[in-house]
């Protein structure tokens, strides 16, 4: 049996990888992937806690989070599509509309 602390450690590593990806990459799709990575790192934390406590609740939350993440990805990709159709780019360096 893998100890929960290993699972939590993997989650932390994955989260840092995702975070650095979200900071450093320009392509919006890659950033979205990095965000998904962070989300699943958190899911691993849930799993680790569920194993530690021997409680099913963590597993259930994880399942729900994955389902919601899929919906989010759909929404995110739709935003990128419309962004591309209006600005001909999905490079985050060129998109500063949030300022307005």
């Amino acid at each position: 049996m893998i100890p929960p602390s290993w699972i939590a450690g993997l989650g932390a590593i994955l989260f840092c990888v995702g975070l650095s990806g979200a900071f450093s990459r320009k392509n919006a799709i890659i950033v979205l992937m990095a965000v998904e990575l962070m989300l699943n790192a958190v899911n691993l934390n849930f799993v680790a806690a569920a194993v530690h406590h021997g409680d099913l609740t963590g597993w259930v939350y994880t399942a729900i989070a994955i389902a919601i993440a899929a919906a989010e990805v759909a929404v995110g990709l739709a935003i990128f599509l419309s962004l591309y159709s209006q600005h001909d780019t999905i490079s985050l360096d060129d998109v500063t509309m949030l300022k307005h």
Partner: protein, 770 residues
């Protein structure tokens, strides 16, 4: 403008209808005391109505010609107050001059409750006013003093309101703004009635301030004239100095007695239970407030300038009623001096009152000797006569405090009797002077063109050097002016004679009694002032009415409108006869002691009472008083007028005939020979008098060097200190916000970074706390 020479008696119908008001009150079962609240309430309700209606409909015919721009409404309201006042007096006399203690404070309702947050050593607790045992309510306090002053105020407000309709609405200068005049006039009346009737010092103070406000507004009625605006400000500021002291005095009294109600403070069982040292301080503070309001030295400078206001205002506020407020306050302080526990404690305060009175009396009279503006002569005369009353009250307080209540009552009664006589005479004198000024103004307009620069040229309708010989042209005014002057001078048997003799006599009585040496100087000053009064009042009359017209304007003067004549005739009769009648009725004793009216007649019979009063006045038993009384009569009634006639008198122009009432005076003034005083008039002292003894200049000099720099300093502190903080907050927040704005890049990655850093910080904090 309507032709104002034809009688307009029908316009008085609504005023006459107001006579029914007390009848209705009586019919529904109220007595005079129940109804007395309306004396204040009616003017209070009506004045805003005049202001608002006048502002909206001032251009209409009915407002201008049927309501006389609000004058009729104001007069109707004042008629109610006057009727109720007379009813109150009748009821008061009917109950033998004493309502009794349980009635003197009626209809008091709590309006100001103090809740106090007190710390009992363990916790804070809210103590309600019910537990604390006091509230401040409004009620009516009626005694002889109240009634006397209330009658003076109501009677003169009514008559001068009547006069004002004639004076104000026939002048093109006032077109379309008389509603403001009448509204403020009525608010003033409300303040005066309220101050007199109030049953505690707090309400007295509130109404006192209402009067001060109206005084300010009405002096500045001609707001386009810079001199009027300056005079209004001067009056307001100067009286404010006194008012601050008055307020401090009231706070001390509150601190001492835990109440401001007359009923509580003047309770014989309570009044002398406090520390006399602190009460002395309070009394001096109250007296300074009275000095400011009654224009006594050293706070007198505002009154002569206040003559910038319309003449009815000068007559009412600055001669007959508001300036009496200070006297009323000092008269209200009287019980403190008479309290047995304080005997001898406050003789210094009484001396202060008497000294201020003596100094002001002679100073104002001296300035009046050389004044040429007819209203300024009257203004200084007012100051001088008010000073007489102060001196009389001071003597009364001194007697009361040194254990002579019987003499105190005499002096007190004489002083208040003089207040009555002076108010009647001076109100009338101002109305008569207003009549002269009004007609001079009209004659000037007719002689030099009706329109255009009429007011801008240098003709001064108030300067007596432009008048002369008006006795034949203004018969009613000249007789009124003569009677008023006689009353002020103290010609035997007329008006002010009775009271002025009483004041001078009591001041001397105090001076020659044991320990009274300090009263000697004020007593001497009062005696000297009597002679000066005889001179300056006669001088005014002779300069105005006797001799030949000094300008072509004065040749074309006539008097026409009945609005002006009727009040003049009424007050002439009052001035001429009430002095003698009231003296016979023991009015001063009644004022002094409260229960003596008619007492003399009941015990003596009328003829004996007349003999008794005459003997008492002309042949007092003490030789000093006899000498003083006759000296006063000789110098004021003979010497002063004789000198004035020699200098300023003279026959009328050929073909002019004065009516017999004043003709004899003109004849005498023409046949007493001439004295030339040009040399004296050029002397340094006369110039100093012309410049008001440089007191105004001194104040200006001192204020320019103390108050103005201090004001500048405070203004600087306000600008750079207080405003600096506000502006610093403003510019600081602007700078920081523009710095914060730099973080708003619009790039999603930056936001994520910030969110991450923020989360990290929170995490670190939680970690640290754990």
């Amino acid at each position: 403008m309507a032709d104002h020479s034809k009688p307009e008696w029908h316009l008085m119908m609504p005023v006459a209808a107001m006579l029914l008001f007390p009848v209705i009150c009586y019919k529904i079962g109220w007595d005079a005391i129940d109804s007395s609240m309306f004396i204040i309430a009616i003017p209070l309700v009506v004045w805003p109505a005049i202001a608002i209606i006048g502002q909206v409909w001032k251009k209409t015919d009915w407002w201008k010609n049927h309501l006389k721009e609000g004058g009729i409404i104001a007069l109707a309201a004042l008629a109610v107050s006057l009727c109720l006042t007379i009813w109150l007096i009748i009821q008061f006399l009917g109950e033998h001059g004493n309502f009794g203690a349980q009635d003197s404070d009626i209809a008091s309702f709590a309006w100001l409750n103090f809740d106090i947050l007190a710390h009992d050593g363990v916790s804070w607790e809210l103590i309600g006013s019910d537990k604390l045992g006091f509230t401040i309510g409004f009620g009516i306090y009626v005694d002889a003093l109240t009634l006397m002053l209330l009658f003076v105020a109501a009677f003169l407000c009514f008559l001068i309101g009547w006069f004002a309709i004639g004076y104000m609405t026939t002048d093109a200068v006032n077109e379309d703004r008389n509603h403001r005049f009448f509204a403020e006039f009525l608010l003033f009346s409300c303040g005066m009635f309220g101050m007199v009737l109030a049953d505690n010092f707090l309400w007295l103070f509130i109404f006192w301030e209402i009067m001060g406000l109206c005084s300010y507004l009405l002096i500045g009625f001609y707001w386009e004239k810079p001199s009027a605006v300056a005079a209004a400000k001067k009056a307001f500021m100067t009286t404010r100095v006194g008012d601050v002291f008055l307020m401090v005095g009231l706070l001390i009294i509150y601190d001492l007695y835990n109440s401001l109600s007359f009923e509580v403070i003047f309770d014989p069982a309570i009044i002398d239970t406090v520390d006399p040292e602190r009460l002395r301080l309070a009394l001096i503070m109250l007296f300074i407030g009275a000095v400011g309001k009654s224009a006594q030295f050293p706070l007198h400078v505002w009154l002569p300038d206040a003559m910038e206001g319309p003449t009815p205002v000068s007559a009412l506020i600055h001669a007959a009623t508001m300036v009496n407020a200070g006297l009323y306050l000092v008269a209200r302080m009287f019980p403190f001096f008479g309290a047995s526990g304080f005997e001898g404690d406050f003789s210094d305060v009484a001396l202060l009152i008497t000294w201020i009175g003596g100094i002001t009396a002679i100073m104002a009279a001296a300035i009046a000797l050389v004044a040429n503006d007819i209203k300024r002569v009257l203004a200084y005369s007012t100051m001088s006569q008010l000073a007489y009353i102060f001196a009389g009250l001071g003597a009364a307080c001194w007697f009361a405090n040194s254990g002579h209540p019987e003499f105190a009552a005499l002096a007190f009664g004489a002083a208040l009797f003089h207040l009555f006589n002076h108010a009647m005479a001076k109100g009338m004198l101002f109305m008569a002077s207003g009549s002269v000024i009004h007609e001079m103004h009209h004659a000037h307009h007719q002689a030099h063109g009706e329109h255009g620069g009429g007011d801008d040229d240098h003709f001064d309708a108030q300067d007596m050097r432009n008048m002369g010989g008006l006795a034949s042209k203004m018969p009613v005014t000249s007789v009124a002016m003569m009677l008023g002057s006689m009353s002020i001078i103290g010609i035997p048997l007329i008006g002010g004679f009775w009271s002025k003799e009483g004041i001078i006599g009591q001041a001397w009585h105090a001076a020659i009694s044991q320990d009274g040496g300090a009263m000697l100087v004020p007593a001497l000053l009062l005696l000297a002032t009597a002679g000066m009064t005889g001179f300056y009042m006669s001088r005014m009359w002779f300069m105005t009415f006797a001799g030949k017209p000094k300008t072509d304007v004065a040749e074309h003067v006539g008097e026409d409108t009945h609005w002006i004549k009727t009040p003049l005739v009424t007050l002439s009769l009052v001035t001429a006869f009430t002095g003698a009648i009231f003296a016979v009725l023991n009015f001063p004793e009644w004022l002094g002691e409260g229960e003596q009216l008619m007492h003399g007649i009941e015990s003596h019979g009328l003829a004996e009472q007349v003999v008794h009063v005459l003997e008492h006045t002309f042949l007092p038993h003490e030789s000093t008083l006899l000498a003083v009384g006759w000296t006063a009569i000789v110098i004021s009634a003979i010497l002063g007028p004789f000198l004035a006639a020699r200098i300023h008198g003279g026959r009328l122009a050929a073909g002019e005939e004065a009516n017999p009432f004043v003709g004899w005076l003109v004849q005498i003034s023409g046949s007493v020979g001439r004295t030339n005083v040009d040399e004296i008039a050029k002397s340094g002292f006369a110039v100093a008098l012309h410049n008001r003894l440089y007191i105004d200049d001194l104040y200006e000099w001192v204020i320019a060097r103390t108050v103005v720099p201090l004001g500048n300093l405070l203004a600087w502190f306000d600008k750079s200190g207080i405003d600096g903080v506000i502006k610093g907050i403003e510019s600081g927040s602007q700078a920081s916000s523009s710095w914060i704005r730099l973080m708003t890049t619009g790039s999603a990655r930056d936001y994520i970074l910030m969110a991450a850093v923020g989360a990290l910080c929170i995490f670190a904090l939680l970690w640290g706390m754990a």
